[in-house]
């Protein structure tokens, strides 16, 4: 039931295992010779694959000097693209925080025919190639739309695409927490005369907040960096529908590698902030648990 296709944030609310477990001993060994070599190999690979290339991006952005970097980011068009990206990502995150929680709630607490199917449907946007996601949305909301709505080159189109690709994040982080929620407290509250809404607001919601926050930041990170699903939908119009990742591509195609690197560095900073936020949230949850 709790198929967390989206990797749960941090301490992974133990997928459906009995709650209240006592953690087994968590002693850590000092490095031995063989594990030391293993660590060395892993670090070399990680550097070659991830760290060095990312450093090269920062290097390229820095090569033009602080002034050039700043000029690129404050260029009216680039700035508009960045602002649009952040605003759309925030809107989508907000929508997901609410809708995702509702979806998780229904999938856990309600019981009806076809629920299992819906549970699988949640994961489809994550498993689907992003370019296919774009194509799929276009087939319903594109120029040949059977409902007569064309979202191509509109902000609503971007919103919809982001909503699609970030669907699983909040649902999948909230679901396991809801399942493990101690029923006794709720029942006690109800027996003391609390209305269902009060029970939800005072008892359930507070325990869901960390999961919602974790899912939201995952979704935010995804939304801000999304590319594939927007390629066919966004019209790339400056000030209107141009988002950061497409701006990077435009810079690259227009042979302005420094500009591309500058925007990329900014996205990197957001990415780092997001994973740090995730780490903080998950550690807080771990402390509580």
């Amino acid at each position: 039931m709790t198929d967390t296709l989206v990797p749960p944030a941090g301490p992974a609310p133990s997928r459906g295992r009995p709650s209240g477990r006592v953690k087994a001993s968590s002693g850590r060994f000092p490095l031995t010779a063989s594990s030391g070599i293993g660590l060395g190999v892993a670090l070399v690979w990680f550097s070659v694959l991830v760290l060095i290339p990312l450093a090269a991006v920062i290097g390229a952005a820095a090569a033009g000097g602080w002034g050039a970097f700043w000029d690129t980011l404050t260029d009216a068009q680039t700035f508009a693209a960045l602002r649009l990206t952040v605003v759309e990502a925030l809107l989508v995150t907000l929508a997901n925080a609410v809708i995702g929680t509702i979806v998780a709630w229904v999938l856990v607490r309600d019981q009806f025919f076809g629920k299992r199917l819906l549970d699988v449907v949640i994961d489809i946007p994550f498993a689907l190639p992003t370019i296919v996601a774009g194509l799929i949305l276009l087939s319903l909301w594109g120029p040949d739309s059977p409902v007569g709505v064309n979202i191509v080159n509109t902000r609503q189109g971007i919103f919809l695409a982001l909503l699609f690709v970030t669907l699983p994040f909040v649902v999948r982080t909230v679901q396991p927490v809801l399942i493990e929620l101690d029923a006794d407290v709720e029942e006690a509250a109800a027996s003391l005369g609390a209305s269902r809404f009060t029970t939800f607001r005072r008892i359930i919601l507070p325990s869901l907040v960390p999961a919602i926050a974790a899912g939201s930041s995952l979704g935010f990170a995804r939304a801000i960096s999304e590319f594939g699903s927007l390629v066919l939908i966004s019209g790339n119009t400056p000030y209107e529908t141009e988002v950061a990742s497409l701006k990077i591509l435009k810079f690259l195609e227009g042979d302005n590698q420094d500009g591309a690197a500058a925007v990329a560095v900014l996205l990197l900073i957001v990415a780092v902030l997001t994973i740090v936020a995730l780490d903080v949230i998950s550690r807080r949850v771990a402390r509580r648990g």
Binding site: A68, D71, T72, D75, A76, Q77, A80, L138, G142, P143, N150, V152, N153, G235, N236, T237, P238, Y239, E240, L246, L249, K250, F251, L252, E253, G254, D255, N256, Q257, D258, G259
Partner: protein
């Protein structure tokens, strides 16, 4: 249950391993009989048509093609970035993209010494409209109207966009405008643009998807779209700009690539291009040739009364120096564009 899962996991791994083996067998070009093309997005269909004809010739028998198509500047950069590895023949939207390869030592300096000066295909800038031209667009001057919503490629990433900008500029000049008036005209047209697409092809895509009601494009691109059943019409204005696309063979390309380039400039090659809507660059006789998709298939390429060329403006290096900045540098176009689109 357990067995089912194991079987499923095994099947998936097996399928992957199988496909891994399969692709190491094929796919790689072992002989010199493959021509790797890197080009800008627009001539893909024409190259394919020409390749089919080339395969019928003695030199082109059993030759296979592998084409990479995309934004002109980006494609040119990719070739330099990989030092021409696995690239035999290149075709770009405009000359500076070729010059970069010459500077990098990948293309011989004499590439533009041939009969056609290195140009392999030619077209003119046109205005495409919705089917039936409901807005009654006749000329560039109509583009400043309030009801016009223009789709054009973005010169920031697309070569073809630059041709459009020059067409607009030389049109203004042909009406006797001063430089300042020409700038004002360009700004006015730019403010009517709803979509600056990444490439010439993506502009067509956006237009197809119902964005905007006027598309600035190449004549051949409009013809190709009509050949593919798209619902649009196009107008060849009285004044327009001649588009010339350079093509060349890389220095260390397989010899068959040179045969291919020679073929492209032969009558058969040019006729293949003509069939996809390009104007011929050689003196090939196209009387009696019908081009589907053209406004008048029997007379597909009406003579343009007043045709400007890049040479009129002093050639591409002069044009780039004045109009289109590199690496974020803001020149004449970039400034007009920034002012026109400012919010």
């Amino acid at each position: 249950m357990k067995r089912v899962i194991k079987a499923a996991a095994l099947a998936m791994t097996g399928a992957l391993a199988l496909s891994a083996c399969a692709s190491t067998d094929g796919g790689s070009d072992d002989s010199g009989k493959t021509i790797n093309i890197v080009g800008f997005a627009v001539p893909e269909a024409a190259n394919k048509a020409a390749a089919e004809e080339f395969n019928k010739t003695e030199a082109g028998k059993d030759v296979t093609f592998s084409g990479s198509y995309g934004a002109s500047g980006d494609q040119s950069r990719k070739v330099v970035d990989t030092k021409g590895k696995d690239t035999d023949y290149v075709v770009f939207s405009l000359e500076p993209d070729m010059t970069r390869l010459v500077d990098a030592g990948l293309v011989d300096e004499s590439w533009n010494q041939g009969e056609t000066k290195g140009i392999v295909s030619s077209s003119v800038a046109v205005i495409a409209t919705q089917a039936g031209n409901p807005l009654g667009i006749k000329d560039w001057s109509d583009l400043t109207r309030d009801d016009v919503k223009i789709v054009t490629p973005d010169p920031a990433s697309s070569g073809s966009a630059k041709w459009n900008v020059l067409a607009l500029y030389t049109y203004a000049k042909s009406t006797g405008a001063t430089e300042a008036e020409a700038d004002a005209f360009l700004k006015k047209v730019f403010s009517r643009v709803t979509t600056w697409a990444a490439s010439g092809r993506e502009a067509t895509e956006a237009f197809k998807k119902g964005v905007g009601n006027v598309l600035l494009t190449y004549e051949n691109e409009a013809i190709l779209a009509k050949q593919n059943g798209e619902d649009l019409d196009y107008v060849v204005p009285n004044h327009t700009f001649k588009i010339e696309n350079p093509g060349a063979v890389l220095k260390d390309a397989a010899p068959v690539a040179t045969d291919w380039l020679d073929f492209l400039l032969s009558d058969e090659g040019q006729l293949a291009f003509v069939s996809k809507g390009f104007r011929p660059v050689t003196g090939v006789d196209i009387a009696g040739v019908e081009v589907q998709g053209a406004n008048d298939p029997a007379n597909p390429f009406p003579a343009v009364a007043d045709l400007s060329t890049a040479a009129d403006l002093g050639g591409w290096s002069a044009i780039n120096k004045e109009w289109f900045g590199k690496d974020g540098e803001k020149l004449r176009f970039d400034k007009l564009y920034a002012e026109a689109t400012k919010q």
